[in-house]
């Protein structure tokens, strides 16, 4: 009797102990399961705080959305191993010292092999050698043309030299009667480059530039500068690198000053913002290339889907967000093709001619050889659109092929 009870107690004791052990072991087992795949860090060096955040934050969002999608789709499988992507964001504030620190932290502390950024061309000048020497792939969108020596330096989207020509070509189709133009740009490095391009294109298209102005990036009241421009009676006003809010203001105030002709917004326009600020009536007839309204001008189902999920997640659509979504897809494709996560191998694959990668725009390749001596620009097609009675209408899509002749013009050849 007594013994039995003892035995019972012993059993109970053992049972409970084993139960505890199992319960304790369970998380470890799960952890083990989780340990099956490793992570690849993707560095995002963008201005997250400060005046440039309006550009940097969308990039961060787009890239992170892409990374989530990739991981949700089971990550990247290489040599039987499954890798998940992990985003590491560092703030650059578009200032040299801070950007340099951000890049060094990403490269040396986080040991990342792929960096999306920086935003400002000025920053790129100092961090580019760093990534080059450390064999780190750097994906960004700079308004200045690529340099043949920058082997690890890629542009995830078409650049100023292509935007402007596409836009102007579209314009000429719509308004053949145009003779005189006024071109405007931010008084800033990117602006200077775009202005040069615009000048070349106008020369090539036989347009006469009557006003060639730079606007103070901090200025919000454009009456003075518009007064100056409108006395020259331009048939249309072409705007270059001007942030959406600001070129919306230009359009609004231009209309107030009695300008009737069409406006042109070559890069990174944002229909929603323009319509919100300038109002449908003023914005009527605005021609833009590659605006933020990805859903509106979706050319593929993927683009529409991603655009909608982005909108649902963040409540807005941002220029450049999906370009950086693409960048992640490029990286994934490169890794899988190279069957390695090492940037060196990925670059080799990317540099092989005719290597195609998926993007929200459909398949793209790295192009630019014949113009800049190196294939490091993703040949995203550019939908060009016009705002007609308060809606953005896709007029057509400029592909890399039918843009080539214009690029020569843009380069002043």
């Amino acid at each position: 009797m007594k013994k039995k009870s003892e035995k019972k107690g012993l059993v109970a004791l053992i049972g409970s102990l084993s139960l505890i052990v199992i319960l304790a072991a369970l998380p470890f087992a799960v952890a083990q399961a989780a340990e099956k795949h490793e992570t690849i860090k993707i560095g995002i060096a963008q201005p997250i705080s400060g005046g440039w955040a309006a550009w940097g934050v969308p990039v961060d969002r787009g890239a992170r959305l892409a990374i989530e999608d990739v991981n949700a789709a089971g990550g990247i499988k290489i040599g039987g191993k499954t890798y998940l992507l992990e985003a590491v964001t560092e703030d650059t504030q578009a200032e040299s010292a801070i950007a340099m620190a951000a890049f060094k932290k990403l490269i040396y502390s986080h040991k990342v092999g792929y960096i999306l950024g920086p935003m400002s061309s000025a920053n790129n000048k100092i961090v580019q050698p760093l990534t080059e020497e450390n064999k780190v792939i750097q994906l960004f969108h700079g308004s200045f043309p690529p340099n043949p020596d920058d082997y690890y330096n890629f542009r995830g989207t078409l650049i100023g030299e292509q935007y402007a020509p596409a836009a102007y070509a579209a314009l000429m189709q719509l308004y053949p009667e145009i003779k005189t133009v006024a071109i405007l740009n931010r008084d800033e490095e990117g602006g200077w480059i775009n202005q040069k391009v615009a000048r070349n294109v106008c020369k090539a298209l036989g347009l006469r530039i009557v006003a060639d102005e730079f606007i103070d990036p901090k200025e919000k009241d454009y009456y003075p500068i518009l007064t100056k421009i409108l006395t020259k009676k331009p048939d249309f006003i072409g705007m270059g690198m001007i942030a959406p809010g600001y070129h919306a203001l230009l359009i609004k105030q231009g209309r107030e000053m009695g300008y009737k002709g069409p406006f042109l917004a070559p890069t990174g326009s944002d229909t929603a913002v323009v319509l919100d600020i300038a109002g449908a009536k003023a914005a009527e007839g605005l021609i833009a290339v590659g605006t933020a309204d990805y859903i509106g001008l979706a050319t593929t189902s993927l683009m529409k889907d991603v655009g909608q999920r982005y909108l649902k997640r963040y409540g807005t659509q941002d220029a450049w967000s999906l370009e950086y979504y693409n960048n992640i897809l490029y990286i994934k494709a490169g890794m899988e093709a190279a069957d390695s996560i090492d940037p060196k191998d990925v670059v080799k694959v990317w540099r092989t001619p005719g290597f195609t990668m998926p993007s929200v725009y459909g398949d793209v390749t790295w192009v630019g050889q014949e113009f800049w001596g190196i294939n490091s620009i993703a040949s995203c097609p550019l939908p060009y659109t016009q705002i007609r009675n308060g809606k953005e209408v896709v007029l057509g899509v400029v592909t890399w092929e039918d843009m080539k002749p214009l690029v020569n013009a843009a380069l002043g050849k």
Binding site: I48, S49, E90, D91, Q93, E95, S96, A97, M100, A101, A102, K104, K105, I107, Y108, S109, S121, A122, K125, I126, P129, L130, E133, D187, E188, E189, G191, W192
Partner: protein, 331 residues
């Protein structure tokens, strides 16, 4: 030399040795960069405080730093000078320019001087923006050559390349120690006494035979020269100069570092710069809230420690003493 002095000197030596040993322990280039920039900013902040020993706060300090950078960069790039020759020349040029800037500000004091100096600094900065040649306009100057290697017979050659983090560290550390030491000596020299007199009362100073204007100008020029030194080192370290970065943003930060660190004591700006710099880097994962933290620290310091962070230990001792005395009273 009493025991206290001995303690001071020993601890000072220990700190300097520690500074020189840091690269042995910290190999990560990222941290080297952070520290190097910190030392560089200390030069500037210390100069800012040095002007303030006469009671004036100069807002032209950071533009003058930029001027130093531009001067040496242009000397090296356009005239093909060696960095080691361009550095002193640039400092000299900037000193002259600072004298030119200061001269019209002679009659202004206090807030008026603050804004007048801001105005002239801003005009100078906008000149860099406006005149693409030679200043490179908004894009600024890029690909500024790095310092030439140092050949000392019998010693290994010191290279300055993209990867020579430690040599940059030592370069800027040495210049920082030099500037700090110089300004310390100046402050304890006759010039320092005169500065103190001017700070207290310009009228009385002039009535005991001090040429107030002359000495204010001398001090302003010396301080600006140190700002220029910082600018040169920055330019040839970053290899890029952008006018935008010498706008009020950095000027305000320098002002904050110095004042929150504590203007009253010589080590104030050093402490301020290090504290704020490190906070910024340690909070990198949360860029959005860094300014928030800055703001809170500012408010707390100015409210609780008018003497600046430097007076924290003293304050703590004081509070402690108060507490003890209160306890004794209660007993």
């Amino acid at each position: 030399m009493n025991r206290n002095d001995w303690l001071k000197w020993v601890s000072l030596a220990a700190v300097v040795i520690a500074l020189f040993l840091i690269p042995v322990f910290i190999k990560n280039p990222y941290w080297m960069l952070v520290l190097t920039l910190l030392w560089n900013y200390i030069i500037v902040a210390q100069g800012f405080r040095y002007i303030a020993t006469t009671g004036e706060y100069s807002f032209a300090h950071v533009p003058l730093m930029g001027m130093g950078g531009y001067a040496s960069a242009l000397l090296v790039m356009k005239l093909g000078m060696s960095f080691w020759l361009a550095l002193p020349l640039a400092v000299l040029v900037t000193a002259i320019i600072s004298a030119i800037i200061y001269y019209p500000c002679l009659r202004t004091t206090g807030t008026f001087f603050f804004f007048a100096s801001f105005a002239f600094g801003e005009v100078m900065r906008l000149c860099w923006v406006r005149f693409k040649n030679p200043f490179g306009g908004v894009g600024g100057l890029s690909h500024i050559p790095r310092p030439d290697p140092i050949h000392i017979p019998g010693l290994p050659i010191v290279e300055f390349t993209l990867f020579s983090h430690t040599s940059y560290y030592y370069l800027i550390l040495v210049f920082m120690l030099f500037s700090v030491l110089t300004m310390y000596l100046l402050e304890n020299s006759r010039l320092g006494a005169i500065a103190a007199a001017i700070k207290e009362s310009k009228i009385l100073a002039s009535f005991v035979g001090i040429r107030v204007w002359r000495y204010e100008m001398i001090i302003f020029v010396i301080a600006s020269a140190f700002a220029a030194l910082g600018g040169c080192l920055y330019a040839h370290y970053m290899t890029l100069l952008v006018p935008e970065e010498f706008y009020w943003g950095l000027a305000i930060y320098v002002c904050i570092w110095a004042v929150v660190g504590g203007m009253g004591h010589f080590t104030g700006p050093i402490v301020g710069t290090i504290v704020f710099g490190l906070i910024k880097e340690l909070l990198r994962p949360f860029p959005q809230i860094v300014p928030l933290i800055y703001g809170l620290i500012l408010a707390a310091t100015l409210a609780l420690l008018p003497e600046g962070l430097i007076s924290l230990p003293k304050k703590i001792l004081l509070w402690n003493k108060r507490r003890l005395s209160r306890l004794r009273r209660d007993k």
